[in-house]
C-alpha cells in the first residue's frame, strides 16, 4: 500500500508529536515500556516461509526414516506418543541452545532442526492420541493439548500460527463431517463461527493482549476465511427445514455486527459511529448484510482491519478472499445463477453508491 493511503510513522515520531501536544510528559517511561515490550525481533515473512517449507520437508523425511527403520509403528499409540513428546522436548532444547547470533550458521541450522523436530513431534503425538482414542475427535483434542502446552514455551510465530490453525481446522472438519448430530450440527457450526469472531475481536482490540498472541489472532482470522469459503460452496447443512435459522442468515448477521463494530473501532471509539459518514457506513453495512454474500462482508472487514491496523497481511488476505469466495460462490448449489447475479450486482451498486456519497461530500480528496 503506497504512502498516499497510509502514514509510515515510527514510535519516536509518534512520541515527538504526543510530547509537542502535551500528551507525553512521561516520555522516558513510555520509551522504556516500548523497548521492553519490543522483545525479540520477528523474522521477516519471506524467511519464515523458507523456514516453514524446509521444516515441513525435513519432518516428512524424519518420519519416513523412523517408519522405514522400524523405530516407530503407526499402529502403536505408546510409541507414537513417547517419540512425539521426545521430539517436542528436543525442539525446545534446540531452540533454547541455538544462541542469540541470528545470522550464524549454528543458529540457523539449530532453528531449522528445532522446527523440524517440533513438526515431527506434534504430528506423532496427534497420531498417537488419535490411535489411542480411535476417533477422529482425537485430532483436535490432541492438537489442542499440545498447542496449549507448547504455545508459551516454544516461541516461534510460524509454529504458533500453524498449530492454532490446525486445532481450529480439525475442529471445524469434525463438526462438519464426523458428527452424527442431525439438526444440531447447524447450531454447532453457527456457535463455532461466533466463537471464532469473538476470539478474534478480543485479540484485536484488547490492548493488554501480549504480542505473543498475534499468531493466534491470525489463526482465528484465517480459520474464519476457510469457514466462509467452505460455507459458500456447501451452505446446505440440512437444518430441519427451518429456513430462518440456517447459517447464511446467522453468518451474515454476525459479520454485519462485526463490520459495524470494526467501523467504530477503526474510528477510535464506538461513540464516533454517530457522526454522519460513519452512520451512513454502518447503514451500508446493514444493507450489505441483508443483500450480500458472507465472503464480501468478510473481505471488507479484513480490509478495514488491515488498513486500520497497518497490517499488510490482513490487507492481502482481504484482497484474496474476495475473488476466491466469488469463484466458489459460482458453484454454490443452493442458489440459481440469476439470484447470485442479483445479489452481486445489488451489493456492487450499494458499494458504488457509498463511493458516490464520499465524492459528493468531498471526503475522498487526494492528500
Amino acid at each position: 500500500m503506497s504512502d498516499k493511503y497510509m502514514t509510515g510513522l515510527s514510535a519516536k515520531e509518534l512520541l515527538d508529536s504526543l510530547e509537542t501536544e502535551g500528551f507525553a510528559d512521561n516520555r522516558k517511561e513510555i520509551m522504556q515500556f516500548l523497548i521492553a515490550r519490543k522483545g525479540e525481533k520477528e523474522m521477516p515473512l519471506y524467511l519464515r516461509i523458507l523456514l516453514g517449507v524446509g521444516a515441513f520437508i525435513s519432518s516428512l523425511c524424519l518420519i519416513g526414516f523412523l517408519v522405514a527403520a522400524e523405530i516407530i509403528s503407526f499402529r502403536s499409540e505408546v510409541e507414537l506418543n513417547i517419540w512425539g513428546i521426545f521430539f517436542i522436548i528436543a525442539a525446545v532444547v534446540l531452540q533454547r541452545t541455538s544462541g542469540q547470533k541470528e545470522d550464524s550458521v549454528k543458529h540457523c541450522f539449530m532453528m531449522q532442526s528445532s522446527f523440524c523436530a517440533m513438526a515431527t513431534g506434534k504430528t506423532l503425538f496427534v497420531a498417537g492420541v488419535t490411535q489411542a482414542t480411535d476417533t477422529a475427535w482425537g485430532i483436535p483434542v490432541a492438537a489442542l493439548i499440545i498447542t496449549i502446552l507448547t504455545y508459551n514455551v516454544y516461541k516461534m510465530s510460524t509454529d504458533r500460527f500453524l498449530s492454532s490453525f490446525a486445532v481450529l481446522f480439525s475442529l471445524m472438519s469434525n463438526i462438519l463431517w464426523n458428527l452424527d448430530m442431525g439438526d444440531a450440527r447447524i447450531f454447532l457450526v453457527n456457535a463455532f463461527f461466533l466463537l471464532q469472531v469473538i476470539a478474534a475481536s478480543i485479540l484485536l482490540t484488547y490492548g493488554k493482549a501480549k504480542r505473543d498472541y498475534i499468531p493466534l489472532f491470525y489463526a482465528f482470522v484465517f480459520s474464519l476465511c476457510v469457514t466462509v469459503v467452505f460455507l459458500t460452496v456447501q451452505p446446505n447443512l440440512e437444518y430441519g427445514g427451518n429456513d430462518a435459522l440456517t447459517h447464511p442468515v446467522f453468518i451474515n448477521l454476525v459479520l454485519t455486527i462485526s463490520l459495524i463494530a470494526l467501523i467504530g473501532w477503526a474510528a477510535g471509539k464506538p461513540g464516533k459511529l454517530k457522526k454522519e459518514p460513519l452512520l451512513i457506513a454502518s447503514c451500508g453495512a446493514v444493507l450489505l448484510g441483508v443483500i450480500s454474500a458472507p465472503g464480501v462482508l468478510l473481505a471488507i472487514g479484513l480490509l478495514i482491519m488491515g488498513y486500520a491496523g497497518h497490517e499488510k497481511l490482513l490487507l492481502t488476505m482481504g484482497g484474496l478472499i474476495m475473488p476466491v469466495s466469488l469463484f466458489f460462490y459460482y458453484y454454490n448449489m443452493d442458489l440459481t445463477l440469476d439470484r447470485k447475479s442479483a445479489i452481486l450486482v445489488s451489493g456492487g451498486l450499494l458499494l458504488l453508491a457509498g463511493r458516490c456519497y464520499l465524492r459528493y461530500r468531498k471526503l475522498d480528496a487526494e492528500v
Partner: protein, 331 residues
C-alpha cells in the same frame, strides 16, 4: 525507537497499560489515520470491490440466461456496456482511478462480446482465436491506461491465448511438447523486462511491484517444470525438455543477478531461492533414492539432513543479502 513502527496496536497497548490517556490515544489515532486518508482509501476500495461485484454479477447473469436471451439483446447489452464504460472512462479521465476501472470493465466486456459473437454466428473459430482477438482489441487501451490491474488482465489473456494456441493449432510433436514452457518463460520474461523498463519511466511503483512478483512467480513456474522433469526422468527427456531446463537454469541465474544487484527486491530473490531449493531437493531425492535403493531408512535420514542443510544455507544467504539491502535502504 526509530525502528519500532507506530501502529494502532502500539497505541492501544500504551493506553491499556495506562501510559497515555484516552485523549492522547484519540489524538494518536487521528495522527496515524487522518480522516482524509481514510476517505481516499475507502473511496478506492468501494470503487474496486463495487465494480468487481457488478461485473461478476453481469457474467453470472449471462451464464445463467444464455439460452433465454435473444441474440439482439445479447449484442445490445454488451455493446451498450462497452460504450457506457468507455464514455464514462473518458469523462473521468485516465488520471482518475474511476476512469481506469471503467476502462478495465470495458476490456472485460470486449471478451464477453467476442464470446457472444462467436456463439451467435457460429464462426467455428477455436477458443485461442477469441483470446487472440481479445488481446489485440484491448491492447491499445492497455498501453494508454497506466493501470497495473488492466496490464495483469491483458497478460492473463495473452498467456491463455498462447496455451490454447499450442493445444489447438500448433499441435506439437512429442519431442516438442515441452517447448510451451520455454515460450511461456520467454513471454512472461519479456513482460517482466518491459514492466521494469516502464517502472523506470515513472509509473506507480507500488502497483508495479505487485505485478513484478506475480510475473516472477509465473516465470519461475514455467522455468521449473522442464528442470524438474529432466531431473526426475532423465531417460525420457526430449529435446524440448533439455532446452527448457537449460533456459530455466539460465533464467534462475538472471533473476538472482538482476534482483540482487540491478533492481534489488528481496521478495523476488526469496521466490527464486525457494524455487532453486525445491529443484535441489528433487535432485537430491532422485540421487539418494537411486544410491540407497535397498535402504529406505538411510535414504530418508540423509534426505532429511540434506534438506536442513539446503534451507539453512538459503536462509543464511538471504539474511545477509537482506542486511546489505537494508543498509542501502532498499525495500
Amino acid at each position: 525507537m526509530e525502528q519500532i513502527p507506530a501502529n494502532r496496536r502500539l497505541i492501544e497497548t500504551l493506553h491499556a497499560h495506562g501510559r497515555i490517556t484516552g485523549e492522547a490515544m484519540e489524538y494518536a489515532i487521528g495522527l496515524l489515520y487522518p480522516n482524509k486518508r481514510w476517505g481516499l482509501w475507502a473511496s478506492r476500495i468501494l470503487l474496486i470491490i463495487g465494480t468487481g461485484l457488478v461485473l461478476s454479477g453481469i457474467i453470472y447473469f449471462f451464464a445463467f440466461n444464455w439460452m433465454k436471451i435473444p441474440p439482439a439483446a445479447k449484442f445490445a447489452f454488451t455493446e451498450t456496456g462497452i460504450v457506457i464504460c468507455l464514455g464514462m472512462s473518458w469523462h473521468y479521465g485516465l488520471q482518475d482511478l474511476a476512469g481506469k476501472v471503467l476502462l478495465l470493465s470495458a476490456s472485460v466486456l470486449v471478451g464477453v462480446f467476442l464470446a457472444v459473437f462467436g456463439q451467435i454466428y457460429q464462426t467455428g473459430a477455436d477458443a485461442y482465436q477469441l483470446f487472440m482477438m481479445w488481446a489485440i482489441l484491448i491492447s491499445g487501451w492497455v498501453a494508454i491506461s497506466r493501470f497495473a490491474a488492466l496490464w495483469f488482465v491483458w497478460m492473463v489473456i495473452v498467456n491463455i491465448f498462447v496455451m490454447l494456441y499450442w493445444e489447438q493449432a500448433a499441435l506439437p510433436s512429442k519431442d516438442a511438447e515441452f517447448m510451451i514452457f520455454s515460450y511461456l518463460t520467454l513471454l512472461n520474461g519479456f513482460f517482466l523486462v518491459a514492466g521494469e523498463y516502464l517502472t523506470n519511466k515513472g509509473s506507480d511503483r507500488a502497483a508495479d511491484r505487485r505485478l513484478r512478483i506475480v510475473l516472477a512467480i509465473s516465470v519461475l513456474i514455467s522455468m521449473s517444470i522442464p528442470m524438474i522433469t529432466l531431473i526426475a526422468e532423465p531417460g525420457r527427456a526430449t529435446g524440448s525438455v533439455v532446452f527448457g531446463a537449460v533456459l530455466g537454469f539460465a533464467g534462475h541465474g538472471i533473476l538472482l543477478f538482476s534482483y540482487r544487484y540491478k533492481l534489488p527486491d528481496i521478495w523476488v530473490l526469496s521466490l527464486t531461492i525457494l524455487s532453486l531449493c525445491i529443484i535441489a531437493e528433487i535432485a537430491g531425492f532422485k540421487m539418494l533414492s537411486e544410491m540407497f535403493r535397498r535402504s529406505e531408512a538411510t535414504m530418508f535420514l540423509l534426505m532429511g539432513g540434506m534438506t536442513l542443510g539446503i534451507f539453512t544455507f538459503a536462509i543464511i544467504r538471504l539474511r545477509k543479502i537482506a542486511g546489505n539491502m537494508e543498509e542501502r535502504n532498499v525495500r
